[in-house]
């Protein structure tokens, strides 16, 4: 036994020794790659840097072929391992956010030995930056700018060059560029300043001051209310750009102290001098970064997502000193020392400097973006930033500011909610902080944009569902007081109602009754229950007649016919006609009977309901088609009848609308009309009708996008097949083979034609929807303004106390309703601007002609600011700009000249001649 163990130990030691030797001498590419990627992940950074820089320097001129199978063939080795090293290095730079300083140090160390290294890195970085900007990959651009700026600390780039480079970017602010572009470039420069401003101020202060002046001019002139988080109150106009500017201003004024950035280059003396030589060499180069010119703006560009400026834990303006720092949530009861620790977290956050908060926000934003594929890793990374203070508050606020991005979250909102949940599970500091954040948000509900209130409701209810519904509801009882601020109370009450409604959807009523104090029970909705109009045991409200609803016998007969399961849709419509002896049933009545009877028969589950609707789709379709002039009205009647069946259940309404759309029983525009049905308009302050609208528009947009992709793939396939056929034509191939290819080609062409027809149809639907939406919005809002003006004039009259109270209550309700209407109107405009953009002129002329000023301001706001958004249909993926960008371009093309081509193609298809079809196909490409 002993012998064998010894020999095993020996062999282990031996192999380790051998491996170490290999590493010193000649490390494998994979290992080099691993070293570059993982540098700084473990302690002992200096040692790692020393080892790595010599390894990189050795590999730089190594021309031997790459041995690793994984990397082989991907890189050119004629010039040494240059392309490999550069590729890996820049990939790390553009995705590993905290390590910028480590990589600049590495570059400096290597270029001390290999003078061309630094030059090539900068060249490559400039090239990639240009490409990233063209492709609108702003996260990548942000990290590249930061990296280049940081290079001035090691003198691989001279401070003057860096200042010129940043000035070139800052020059994009203003200059008649759309606001979104200006904001993006402003943020790129501001985000790089924490890394380089100190060195710039020491070595080229004049340039730095002029750079700051440019930014200041831009920031003070801009006024962006399209994306405001709060509709009124202190700091409501300070959006993300304003916030970042105030943080940088504070940084400049307080002597450029920043502690949250890794600066390993400071430990190497003489690094700067050594690199001066490199720099001088680089000066002669034409493509130098100091002459960097950003690619120009195009209408189809999509700019950076700006997180919401929430101002939860920190003052909204760092220039004006600190706000009230009293924590809103008192630490939980416990021992005194525990209290002290808790309090420490509340006070310590105020010691974090504004600039460190900016750096932290950048880290958080990058981490959320790059680690989205794995929540586990993301949470780990979020807890490992090189920030000296307790930065948990920052993380919570950072994640929430992404969750509250307007008009759409960069990723699915579920991502942020789950990450916050995971943080709470992984570290006991977080639950308290998240609770504090929720409490603060709750206080802000009255002025917060309603789209964000909806998101908060979602977050709040899901978070509670994940943590046993524990909450201090008693703290909120003050909203039940009569003599509170009516507006605030109405908004908060509504919030509580919406939260309970969602909690009920996640859980069940008895559970809520258990966890929620009884004073709030009045706000808990009833258990969702269907409502069959002709049900005999239906509770009849007091004061109503005891007569059963009309057409009871007809409903009974239809019900039993469906229940037997042997009657077809046609037979049902016949039966309905027969039941209508007196001819007093309107079509809407018939539809109501049909819908209620279909749905009561599919009551078991959602799948049963779908199955029944599918089965009797014919009957519904026949009803609608029987009156061609009133089709839209009748389809709306279907939606209304279905929703009255699920009277008290928002969730079932949503599911039903989804099913009706899916089965093509109704069309997307019918959902728009449903939103504007008076009984739905009255509930606009609740979230669910908007959920339905969002779902409908999203589904159309997704279909357009997906069909686009499919159509593009088909086009590529067709080209391939055509080439193949040409080749076959030359030779003496058997006719069979040619026929086969021709057949395949024809098949693909037909598929493509079908795809394009689908796109055409969807675009038509979309256009109709937007026009109806905007028209109805205008009507509804104008009616509201008229009513509000009338009310305002009434105010001057003297009122007795009761009617005064009613009057004030009405005003508070109106305020909440109006905030919701405007928020959602604005949301739709901003979110779907890309899809609305082609018709902007037509919309302005046909719909918004001479509209109320308040409405016009919102409408103009969308297009003035050109807030093109990254529109991510799947939203679960890394939002690659690639797809959304191409789609926007293609979408614009299609709408402007697509229809003509479509017709042309169709004709070609009818003629059946493959050749003319081919021409048409080429014309579209």
């Amino acid at each position: 036994g002993k012998m064998s163990r010894d020999s095993r130990v020996e062999s282990l030691v031996g192999s380790r020794k051998r491996r170490r030797e290999e590493r010193d001498e000649d490390i494998d590419e994979l290992e080099l790659r691993k070293l570059i990627i993982e540098i700084g992940d473990k302690t002992g950074l200096d040692r790692q840097l020393d080892a790595l820089h010599s390894a990189v320097a050795r590999a730089w001129d190594d021309t031997s072929p790459i041995t690793s199978d994984v990397l082989n063939g991907r890189y050119d080795t004629t010039n040494g391992r240059r392309s490999l090293v550069l590729d890996i290095l820049l990939r790390c730079v553009t995705s590993l956010t905290v390590k910028t300083g480590i990589y600049t140090t590495l570059v400096a160390l290597v270029s001390r030995d290999k003078p061309d290294f630094g030059r090539l890195v900068i060249e490559q970085a400039a090239k990639q930056l240009s490409v990233a900007m063209t492709n609108c990959e702003w996260k990548k651009a942000d990290l590249l700018v930061r990296f280049c700026a940081d290079l001035c600390n090691t003198d691989v780039m001279s401070p003057t060059d860096v200042a010129n480079f940043l000035q070139a970017l800052a020059a994009e602010c203003g200059n008649g560029n759309p606001t979104q572009r200006c904001d993006t470039f402003c943020l790129l420069v501001l985000g790089a300043l924490p890394w380089c401003a100190r060195t710039l101020s020491e070595q080229c202060n004049k340039e730095l001051q002029s750079l700051l002046e440019t930014l200041k001019t831009y920031v003070s002139a801009r006024n962006c209310t399209v994306e405001r988080v709060y509709h009124s109150g202190q700091g409501s106009n300070a959006d993300w750009v304003a916030l970042v500017w105030s943080q940088i201003k504070n940084f400049v004024d307080s002597g450029f102290v920043v502690t949250s950035i890794l600066k390993p280059y400071n430990t190497y003396e003489g690094l700067c001098n050594a690199n001066e030589k490199v720099r001088n060499e680089a000066k002669t180069d034409d493509g130098h970064i100091s002459q960097f010119a950003p690619p120009p703006h195009r209408d189809t560009n999509i700019y950076m997502d700006k997180p919401a400026a929430l101002h939860l834990f920190y003052p909204w303006n760092d220039l004006e000193g600190q706000q009230d720092t009293k924590p809103l949530v008192s630490p939980p009861d416990g021992a005194e020392d525990k209290m002290a620790v808790e309090l420490n977290y509340f006070t310590d956050r105020m010691n974090v400097k504004p600039v460190d908060r900016l750096v932290g926000a950048l880290y958080i934003s990058d981490t959320l973006f790059h680690w989205n594929a794995s929540r586990e890793d993301c949470v780990k990374k979020l807890r490992l930033f090189p920030i000296k203070h307790n930065y948990e508050h920052m993380v919570v606020e950072g994640i929430l500011s992404h969750l509250f991005t307007l008009p759409q979250t960069p990723f699915l909102s579920m991502y942020y909610i789950s990450v916050l949940g995971d943080l709470c599970r992984s570290d006991l500091k977080f639950p308290v902080i998240v609770a504090e954040a929720m409490e603060t948000l709750y206080e802000r509900v009255p002025t917060m944009d309603t789209v964000l209130v909806d998101r908060f409701v979602q977050f709040f209810s899901l978070h509670l569902a994940n943590f046993g519904f524990r909450w201090c509801w008693e703290d909120w009882t003050n909203i039940l007081d009569q003599d509170q601020d009516l507006r605030a109370c109405t908004a908060k009450k509504l919030f509580v109602c919406d939260v309970f409604s969602l909690m009920l959807r996640h859980s069940y009523r008895e559970r809520l009754l258990d966890v929620i104090p009884s004073v709030f029970h009045q706000f808990i909705p009833e258990q969702p229950r269907h409502h069959f109009k002709w049900e005999t045991r239906r509770v009849i409200r007091a004061g109503q007649t005891q007569d059963p609803p009309k057409f009871k016998s007809a409903a009974e007969s239809i019900y039993s016919k469906i229940a037997t399961g042997t009657f077809s849709g046609d037979e049902l419509t016949l039966e309905l006609d027969q039941q209508d002896h007196a001819g007093e049933m309107t079509d809407a009545d018939k539809i109501e009977i049909l819908m209620h009877c279909i749905m009561i028969n599919g009551i078991e589950t959602i799948s049963h309901q779908r199955k029944m609707l599918e089965k009797y789709k014919d009957a519904l379709d026949a009803m609608v088609e029987s009156q061609p002039a009133k089709e839209m009205e009748l389809r709306l009647a279907i939606v209304k009848a279905g929703c009255s069946f699920w009277e008290n259940s928002p969730q079932h309404k949503l599911v039903l609308i989804h099913q009706l759309l899916e089965l093509r029983i109704i069309e997307p525009v019918d959902v728009v009309h449903w939103i504007f049905v008076p009984s739905v308009v009255a509930y606009w302050e609740r979230g669910y009708s908007w959920e339905a609208l969002r779902m409908t528009v999203d589904a159309l947009c997704v279909e357009i996008m997906n069909t686009f992709k499919e159509s593009n793939n088909l086009a590529a396939k067709i080209e391939e097949l055509e080439n193949e056929r040409e080749k076959l034509d030359d030779g003496m191939t058997e006719t069979e083979k040619i026929q086969e290819v021709t057949h395949e080609l024809q098949k693909k062409k037909n598929q493509k034609r079908r795809a394009q027809r689908t796109i055409g149809d969807c675009t038509e639907h979309l256009k109709l929807m937007f026009f109806e939406l905007m028209r109805e919005f205008r009507k509804t809002l104008e009616a509201h303004y008229k009513k509000a003006d009338d009310l305002a004039s009434k105010k001057k009259e003297r009122l007795d106390p009761t009617s005064k109270r009613d009057f004030n209550r009405q005003r508070a309700k109106d305020y909440v309703w109006h905030k919701s209407a405007v928020s959602h109107f604005n949301e739709i405009g901003c979110k779907y601007l890309m899809f609305m953009y082609p018709w902007r002129k037509e919309l302005e002329e046909k719909v918004f002609q001479e509209a109320d000023d308040r409405i016009m301001t919102i409408f103009r706001g969308w297009f003035d600011h050109m807030c093109f958004r990254r529109w991510t249909p799947g939203k679960g993926f890394t939002p690659t700009n690639e797809t959304s960008n191409i789609c926007l371009e293609l979408f614009m093309e299609l709408v402007t000249n697509g229809l003509g081509e479509d017709e042309q193609e169709e004709k070609a298809g009818e003629n059946g001649t493959a050749e003319s079809g081919k021409d048409a196909m080429e014309a579209t490409e």
């Binding site: 680690w371 794995s374 579920m414 789950s418 995971d422 049963h608």
Partner: protein, 265 residues
């Protein structure tokens, strides 16, 4: 970026741990079906969780095409798993990324790739009708019918004889819910929720059942339709292979998941 850190072509997060051992086809077929799938297997549900609750949570990742509740093969009641089918792949991926490992009905749930629903798979494969994982369990799980089926069958006589008098279905034994401070029993809870597991008006997928909604109530009293028993899809019950079921553990969460569960709780 996660992919930088993974040297192999397949990132470990993409690999699903659950495989249907009764998959009709080769291993490669199954893998490629998984790679294209929009269907997820969802495990560790409470027996009381409703289809609506599942819709609610899973719609947060995208549009749900349908939900197929997993049923006890014999009793036709929910037995703690389901299949969720999305409209598109991206939504399904979002679900695995963002919903997997969160709580539904206060239980950490598991959402994993599935090659696609086939008729018959909605039934539990355990000998006693439920899931295999509920066969061998010896711990007490209030949300999943108490103790494991096998354990229960062996020890029912002496341990739970007193509970039988409560009138609850004898095969599902209710017990005091340890998690609740007020001591209300699981039976109470079930009654409160009006969704006792033995009820058969359940989530049987109606796709194949020819007589799906055999509501017996007359038109006037249709509220009864919700509570009367539905005839379960008769074609499918017999087609499930009962023999040799004991060794089949595909519905069983892997050890990794059990650990995770413990971590969170």
């Amino acid at each position: 970026m996660a992919h930088l850190y993974s040297t192999s072509a397949v990132h470990r997060k993409d690999q699903s741990l659950y495989r249907d051992s009764k998959f009709d086809g080769s291993h490669e077929d199954q893998e490629s079906a998984l790679a294209r799938s929009t269907t997820l297997y969802v495990g560790n549900l409470s027996f009381f969780t409703t289809e609506e609750q599942i819709y609610e949570l899973f719609s947060r990742a995208g549009r749900v095409r349908r939900v197929i509740m997993g049923l006890d093969r014999i009793k036709k009641t929910p037995c703690g798993f389901c299949f969720v089918e999305y409209e598109d792949r991206a939504s399904a991926e979002a679900c695995v990324k963002y919903i997997n490992g969160t709580k539904l009905d206060e239980r950490i749930i598991r959402a994993d790739w599935d090659a696609g629903f086939k008729e018959g798979r909605q039934f539990g494969r355990g000998r006693h009708g439920g899931q295999v994982r509920d066969e061998h369990r010896s711990d007490y799980d209030a949300g999943r019918g108490g103790y494991g089926a096998k354990y229960r069958a062996e020890t029912q006589q002496n341990v739970f004889s007193s509970f039988d008098s409560t009138g609850a279905d004898s095969s599902i034994v209710f017990h005091g819910d340890k998690r609740k401070a007020n001591g209300s029993s699981d039976a109470d809870r079930a009654v409160k929720r009006q969704r006792t597991p033995p009820k058969t008006a359940s989530a049987a997928a109606p796709n194949t059942s020819s007589t799906s909604a055999a509501a017996t109530a007359e038109a006037g009293g249709t509220s009864d339709a919700t509570t009367t028993a539905t005839t379960a899809p008769s074609t499918t019950t017999t087609s499930v292979d009962v023999a040799g079921d004991d060794d089949d553990d595909d519905d069983e969460p892997t050890d990794r998941f059990r650990e995770q569960e413990d971590d969170y709780n």
